[in-house]
Subunit: 144 residues, 4 copies
Amino acid sequence: MSFTIELAVRFQDVDAGGVLFFARIYDYCHQAYEEFWGSEGIDRAHFFAGAEYLVPIAHSEADYRLPIRHGDRIRVRIDVARVGRASFTLGYRVTGPEGDLRVEASTVHAFVNRSTMRPIPIPEPLRAILLRHLLREPAPNLAT
Amino acid sequence: MSFTIELAVRFQDVDAGGVLFFARIYDYCHQAYEEFWGSEGIDRAHFFAGAEYLVPIAHSEADYRLPIRHGDRIRVRIDVARVGRASFTLGYRVTGPEGDLRVEASTVHAFVNRSTMRPIPIPEPLRAILLRHLLREPAPNLAT
Amino acid sequence: MSFTIELAVRFQDVDAGGVLFFARIYDYCHQAYEEFWGSEGIDRAHFFAGAEYLVPIAHSEADYRLPIRHGDRIRVRIDVARVGRASFTLGYRVTGPEGDLRVEASTVHAFVNRSTMRPIPIPEPLRAILLRHLLREPAPNLAT
Amino acid sequence: MSFTIELAVRFQDVDAGGVLFFARIYDYCHQAYEEFWGSEGIDRAHFFAGAEYLVPIAHSEADYRLPIRHGDRIRVRIDVARVGRASFTLGYRVTGPEGDLRVEASTVHAFVNRSTMRPIPIPEPLRAILLRHLLREPAPNLAT
């Protein structure tokens, strides 16, 4: 089960070269990630900064297939690519209006105890949500 | 006639002090501004970078009334506060979920010839759109 | 006594129109503001997020005189324009390599108690620093 | 031969979780990348947007080892990890004040003809610069 948001590329996210600045795709992916949790009824202020755990990003990567320009209406699709004991991996497919693949990306998120910063198991209710969105077979393009 | 967008404050737009970084409100206002033109059928790639004119911002200002935090669902309302010969002024009211005023802002936009960078009259079709959204009586708080 | 930083306009801070996105000048002004406190021996992590007070920005404004482009080496000069009981005003002059004025800006900063969010007097050691940088005669262009 | 810049983490680059937003490390790496070309006498406005070629980023990735916080003085070191016919790979090591490793990152840059968007060989003078900075033995951590 995937989760998808649609958004218009903002004027200010384009760089002096006239295309989306490469790092901004991560901003858009993270926006999808926030909406993903929100769509599952998770309070985002609590999840991101108010809980006993933190969920820092341990790894990020992106492959840029086709340029993205100002005003393009793009879709960011999230799939859960892996659920481990204390971390999980998300894959993102960013497509243009005709479904044309623009960027593939992935991020690894690790649960840690807020005080000790040591890894902790993914809390059960969150693990259940992640498993529900887990891709049956890892897409060939997703880092795991 | 006003134009309004709603959006959720992004994780990355909050600063080390825990509230929306003061400059990011202009990003959100500009996003409303883009959507405003889009809602009027104006092609944004053409308007913002592809036309014979440019529309640089000559002035911006904002008054911060109440803090805005991560995850807040805010509304950005645009009104046209002034339509001059070669420039116009927009006013923005940013409100929280209960309609509580968070920020008031305004921007002045000047039409210039792309080659000479000299002021030019606002093109007629665009002026007509602006006039349709012009506030009858300037709100007391809007810079003109 | 003024305080000045010099910086090169980053690739990603330019928008689809090919000039510095208007809101990014506030990012650069705030960078100068951080360096200003740092140059006075103030610990910035403490000042901005760790103290018993907060110093939210109550007002910001900017006048854009000349375009700023990618790679331009600009200087941001800060002057203290006003020191009140519980708030102060900073003025910024952003100039190009030939001293040509590109942007004038100002920000109003208010001290508040972190718990009550009520105004508090500017702490003495900080007031002393601000007074040392206070412009004798307010520059005509600075909002007070 | 490496190239290194030092910078202070800006207030606005920290997220609601209190650490550098993961995508902003790419902004800092790109800033080092700009300065790298500048230090070699390459005009950055020309290189990034004014030449007959474009150099889009084809891939980016980062491993986050330790958190980076507001005000931290960090160093970003660039090495050239690979020079191919039409593309090259850069590796970045981001360290804290005590030389402690915070982030490792890499980016792949491809030269393309501006009109056709087809790959073109790296222009000779630029290739010479890259080769001069090429790591003799690829660091084990750098994607190639």
